[in-house]
């Protein structure tokens, strides 16, 4: 394949898609567009307002293709594009069919128009090159330094947010547990346990209600762990509103409420999202939400730089959550490696380290041991001492068996959660219903926990040193003993995990662990996907640790020589790894995260084996939880490779065609009409040169983006006004940057009737060297190009450099390998 850079100055023939044809077609489309879309057009959206969500234009895909049905089953020949008369093509019946768009229930085989690509590839137009040339060696060095400064800031802020979450959760949960414990202790004696039960359920629901309300009504994108969204962002998808300050606020408050509300959730996943938002905010040197511009870091105001910083932020988040700086870097690498820069790695590592250090330091001050840097993460697995660290060669097969169990349970978890999520998307979509659902889950969680504690007979002698920090319940145990079930349920999940890892053998009975695993499995599965911000890491670890410990306890009964399997804590760790691996299916990064969180390299091999087995077994049934949710959100996600059997497809079949093009010097009216067309909300337009009277499509000479055109229209850069503009200053790259990232919608730009007749010269602003491929390029090649370079538009040209099609992310993402071979996803409004 020759990736020829466009911009040949060959003369182009006049295109079939001449401006007035386009307009005629547009009229048709507008008539047939759904009423809701029409309503949206009239919505006035201000320059700095909630741009993307308000406008269907920027919201939509970059390439909604002309839906022309060809009459009589006539073959559509690209070469004869010009001969097709559009008006005759569209028969009335077909138009009527299309005017009622097909509606189907939501499923996972859709691609949403809501998502766009990031412009990761720099637009190397004249302005850009001019600016780069102006910059000396020194300024590049300054840029490099400011990148480091930003990474440091990202680390510090992420660490501080982690501290804040940790401390507030601890306080709130502490108050809640003390209140409930008092009530239970009192009512155990005098009767009226129901009151305690209702009190507990009410407290949980109240916390969760606050969390769910802020998420459901203010920022729905903050729901869940945020890892799927960040994964998409790093993959190159612009998820609307995902890296905004408001999202961060809602996320932090939401996660505090949901963890304090006793849901089966953790605060680790949201940390990663928070880190990413911090990174996206800090690197821009301004906040669009607060309308505050610090006039710094202006160079970084574009998708390329922002995405790089977001990957650093995600890494810092992981590192703060687990105390795993290397794991953080590898997480960013694993999830965002589509376009990775080696130079970036070191910077990201720096950000991660700073974030762990900050968390450490602030927590050490909080715990009044200033300067003691020994509690590196939000979740601390505690150190595994030398005695229990030991594992023997004969235990490896056991670990692998545990990995397989983890894979099976993880797959079951994902399948159940998949069905639940589909149900939620289809039926529980109104915010008030979502809040109610979350409250119900909280109440049921409390009820089930209470019932388990009430009916449990597992009593263990109390240790004086521990009792003050854990909220141990006596329940119906003898005085001086505590209920083992209560330590598992009546505690924040992090503490329960630690207790399962480190409690000496005999702390938990078989039936306690069995019941706990079963109940918690379903609770966690039910909880994930609620409209609250919450992660799935800790619940998975907890489920895994419980059945792992169960496994460890049962071993001596089966083994010939029971004395070898004395320490169930080790098996709890492996079970936790297996369960987490089976649910999220991360590989390299998860291994390193777990190794770092346990602070023990010795466990590297068994953890790796366990995770491998879990992934292999789990992948046989269903994808990882995050991938399931990405699919259910209809995101055009590009996986590591093109589908295995897609070699027979070529660019000609993949591309969208015909393409809306602009001339190098285009009439303003045409541009405005094309941009305002709701049904064809393209984002990139090839710029062509037409030969005077030729009937052929024009030759490619550049590519221009919607955002650029909007800025041009706003500044009224018209040929006729060139003379007056000379007096004013020339349009600079800064003008484009100032509008980034929330470009105003076309409706907010007023173009008078006179101005419509003006002409606009795009030469200076278009990207004169877009990537192009010949039409016979295979899909995997196109895919590789997309993924490696982070492209947004790829122009397909014929032998004479004439534009015949355009490939975008959605064209590629719609192919996926299903059960019956290669399947194609549908595009849909969501």
């Amino acid at each position: 394949m020759t990736v020829s850079h466009g911009g040949q100055t060959g003369r182009c023939a006049s295109t079939a898609l001449s401006a007035d044809v386009v307009r005629r077609l547009d009229v048709l489309k507008v008539q047939s567009s759904p009423v809701s879309a029409m309503a949206n057009i009239t919505k006035k959206v201000s320059w700095s307002g909630r741009g993307e969500e308000g406008t269907p234009l920027l919201n939509g895909s970059e390439e909604v293709k002309y839906t022309r049905q060809l009459s009589g089953g006539g073959m559509f020949h690209i070469g004869r594009l010009s001969t097709v008369d559009l008006d005759e093509d569209i028969t009335p019946e077909e138009d009527a069919v299309r005017s009622k768009p097909k509606e189907i229930p939501h499923n996972e085989k859709l691609l949403s128009l809501k998502y766009e690509s990031l412009d990761y590839d720099n637009i190397e137009n004249h302005l850009f090159l001019e600016e780069e040339r102006r910059m000396g060696h020194m300024s590049f060095r300054c840029l490099e330094i400011s990148r480091w400064v930003i990474c440091g800031l990202i680390g510090v802020l992420t660490g501080l947010i982690a501290c804040f979450i940790d401390i507030v959760v601890e306080k709130l949960a502490g108050v809640k547990y003390v209140v409930v414990k008092k009530s239970i202790d009192k009512n155990t004696e005098i009767g009226g346990m129901c009151i305690s039960l209702i009190l507990w359920a009410a407290l949980n629901s109240a916390f969760v209600m606050v969390g769910a309300i802020i998420v459901a009504f203010f920022e729905p994108i903050a729901a869940g762990s945020g890892i799927p969204q960040i994964k998409c962002y790093l993959n190159g998808v612009k998820v609307p509103r995902v890296v905004r300050l408001k999202t961060l606020m809602v996320k932090v408050c939401g996660v505090i409420c949901s963890v304090a509300g006793g849901l089966a959730v953790g605060k680790e996943g949201p940390m990663i999202h928070s880190g990413a938002v911090v990174a996206a905010g800090v690197s821009q040197g301004r906040s669009t939400s607060l309308k505050k511009d610090f006039k710094i870091f202006e160079y970084f105001r574009r998708d390329t730089e922002k995405r790089d910083f977001v990957s650093a932020g995600a890494a810092a988040g992981v590192s703060a959550a687990f105390g795993a700086p290397v794991g953080g870097v590898l997480f960013s690498l694993e999830e965002g490696a589509s376009f990775w820069n080696q130079l970036l790695t070191w910077r990201i590592f720096f950000a991660s380290m700073i974030s762990t250090f900050t968390l450490n330091f602030v927590l050490s001050i909080y715990h009044k041991k200033t300067g003691e840097l020994s509690s590196p993460g939000l979740i601390n697995f505690g150190s595994f001492d030398l005695k229990s660290v030991k594992y023997n060669i004969y235990e490896i097969p056991l670990f692998i068996v545990m990995g397989a169990i983890g894979g099976l349970l993880g797959a079951l978890f994902n399948v159940l959660n998949y069905w639940l999520t589909i149900f939620r998307i289809r039926y529980v979509h109104r915010p008030c219903l979502q809040v109610m659902e979350a409250m119900l889950v909280a109440a049921v969680t409390a009820t089930v926990s209470f019932a388990m504690i009430y009916f449990s007979n597992d009593c263990q002698p109390l240790e004086t040193q521990k009792s003050s920090e854990d909220y141990s319940l006596q329940g119906f145990c003898a005085d001086g003993e505590y209920s083992a079930m209560a330590t598992a349920f009546f505690n924040t999940p992090e503490r329960s995990v630690r207790s399962l890892f480190h409690s000496p053998a005999g702390t938990y009975k078989l039936e306690t662990l069995g019941c706990f695993t079963l109940v918690y499995f379903f609770l966690a599965c039910w909880t994930y996907g609620l409209t609250v911000s919450a992660g799935v890491f800790i619940p998975s670890l907890l489920i895994g640790a419980a059945w792992g410990r169960l496994f460890g306890i049962m071993l001596p009964y089966i083994a010939l020589n029971p004395s070898v399997f004395t320490d169930p804590g080790k098996y709890a760790l492996m079970g936790a790894a297996a369960q987490l691996g089976g649910i999220v299916r991360m590989t390299l990064s998860l291994t390193v995260i777990l190794v770092e969180a346990t602070g023990n390299v010795t466990y590297g091999l068994p953890i790796m084996l366990v995770l491998m087995t879990a992934k292999i077994v789990g992948d046989y049934f269903i994808e990882g939880l995050y991938d399931v949710h990405i699919k259910l959100q209809s995101v055009p996600f590009l996986h590591w490779d093109a589908p295995a059997t897609s070699h027979s497809l070529t660019a000609r079949e993949v591309m969208s065609s015909p393409v809306t093009c602009f001339n190098r010097v285009e009439k303003v009216g045409t541009i405005v009409d094309v941009l305002s067309n709701t049904s064809t909300n393209h984002n990139g337009f090839p710029v062509i040169i037409q030969t005077a009277a030729s009937e052929e499509p024009g030759k490619l000479c550049g590519l221009i983006l919607r955002s650029q055109l909007i800025v041009l229209l706003k500044h009224k850069v018209f040929v006729e006004r060139a003379r007056s503009r000379l007096r004013q200053r020339k349009l600079q790259l800064k003008d484009f940057r100032d509008a980034y990232p929330r470009f105003p919608p076309i409706q907010s730009i007023h173009v008078s009737q006179d101005e419509r007749e003006c002409m606009m010269d795009l030469t200076e602003f278009m990207n004169p060297t877009p990537y192009t491929v010949p039409q016979d390029t295979s899909l995997p090649r196109v895919f590789k190009l997309f993924r490696a370079l982070g492209l947004r538009h790829l122009v397909v040209v014929d032998d004479d450099n004439r534009v015949i099609g355009l490939v975008t992310r959605k064209d590629l993402a719609r192919y996926h390998l299903g059960k019956h071979g290669l399947e194609e996803l549908h595009l849909a409004h969501t």
Binding site: H106, L649, H826, H829
Partner: protein, 305 residues
């Protein structure tokens, strides 16, 4: 060279061995002394007999033959002797109050005088002949017996957490501790009184038992728990819960089950009503146009079949 060091080391061993051998015979005398006097002997007050014994043994030992090499002075030897005696005092006290645990109440005196002796040895005051006993007694060999003996007792004392029951100068028990002990005694005497009828015991002794529990949890909050109190509490609790079976019984099965099942029933209603009444969210499909109209899923599958 090697031979010399070996010889030196052997010499040291012998030198060390002799005073320590004293502890054996001393044991008896100290025990006897303890029986007669409740107050542990102070540093200055040494039984004459012991000093005689010292003279006797030292004349016999190898060290006497090499007066120049004598690393250990008379004073240090005396200190060593005292140390041994105090050690024996403390250990015998600990052992005798092992069960039920009354270590802190009984042995704090012995412990503080033992500590005092050790600090006398380790303090860096120079003797009359300008040598320090710390050097000769503590750091002369790899066994470091004194240190080990001391630290083992220190560990025991530390894990018993006796310091939290004692006054700051370690001269007596805290008032709260005494209070607790008397309260426990009254509880036990109550138990004794109603031993025959368990149900009566459960009702009659409840007040005192509760008071004891409260005291205990207060002490726990203040961090003034030591092994004596913990053990006393444990014993009392076990008597109360296990022997007399006075724990609370589950009596509210029905209401708890009712409330729980009501709670569990709510989500079912919620989801069912949503399923039946909420309108299903539909997605509007968009038909993208490709260059070839015959390109479709069917087409792809044809290629593979």
């Amino acid at each position: 060279m090697g031979g010399f060091t070996l010889c030196g080391r052997m010499l040291c061993w012998l030198l060390w061995g002799s005073p320590l051998a004293l502890i054996g015979p001393l044991n008896l005398s100290v025990l006897a002394a303890e029986a007669s006097q409740t107050k542990p002997p102070s540093f200055l007050f040494l039984p004459e007999k012991a000093l005689d014994g010292l003279g006797y043994f030292s004349s016999l030992s190898l060290a006497a033959k090499f007066p120049e090499d004598l690393e250990i002075t008379e004073d240090c030897l005396k200190l060593l002797l005292v140390f041994g005696q105090r050690y024996v005092d403390l250990v015998s006290c600990l052992v005798s109050s092992a069960r039920p645990v009354e270590v802190c109440q009984n042995c704090y005196g012995a412990y503080s005088s033992f500590n005092e002796t050790y600090s006398n040895i380790t303090s860096d005051t120079m003797g009359p002949k300008n040598d320090s006993c710390q050097e000769s007694l503590m750091h002369s060999d790899r066994l470091m017996l004194l240190y080990r003996l001391y630290s083992s007792l220190q560990t025991i004392w530390g894990s018993a957490e006796c310091t939290s029951c004692l006054t700051k100068d370690h001269k007596g028990l805290l008032n709260s501790t005494l209070n607790f002990i008397s309260s426990q005694n009254s509880t036990l005497s109550c138990f004794e009184k109603y031993k025959g009828n368990h149900s009566e015991l459960c009702t009659e002794c409840k007040v005192t038992y509760k008071r004891l529990n409260e005291l205990y949890s207060n002490l726990e909050k203040n961090g003034s728990l030591c092994i004596d109190i913990e053990d006393a509490m444990n014993v009392t609790r076990r008597l109360w819960s296990k022997n007399f079976d006075c724990t609370v019984k589950r009596e509210e099965l029905v209401p708890v089950i009712a409330v729980s099942s009501f709670m569990l029933f709510l989500p079912v209603i919620f989801y069912l009503s949503n399923f039946l009444h909420s309108e299903q969210k539909k997605r509007k499909l968009i038909h993208p146009k490709r260059a070839k109209s015959n390109h479709s899923l069917m087409n792809i599958q044809d290629k593979f079949s």
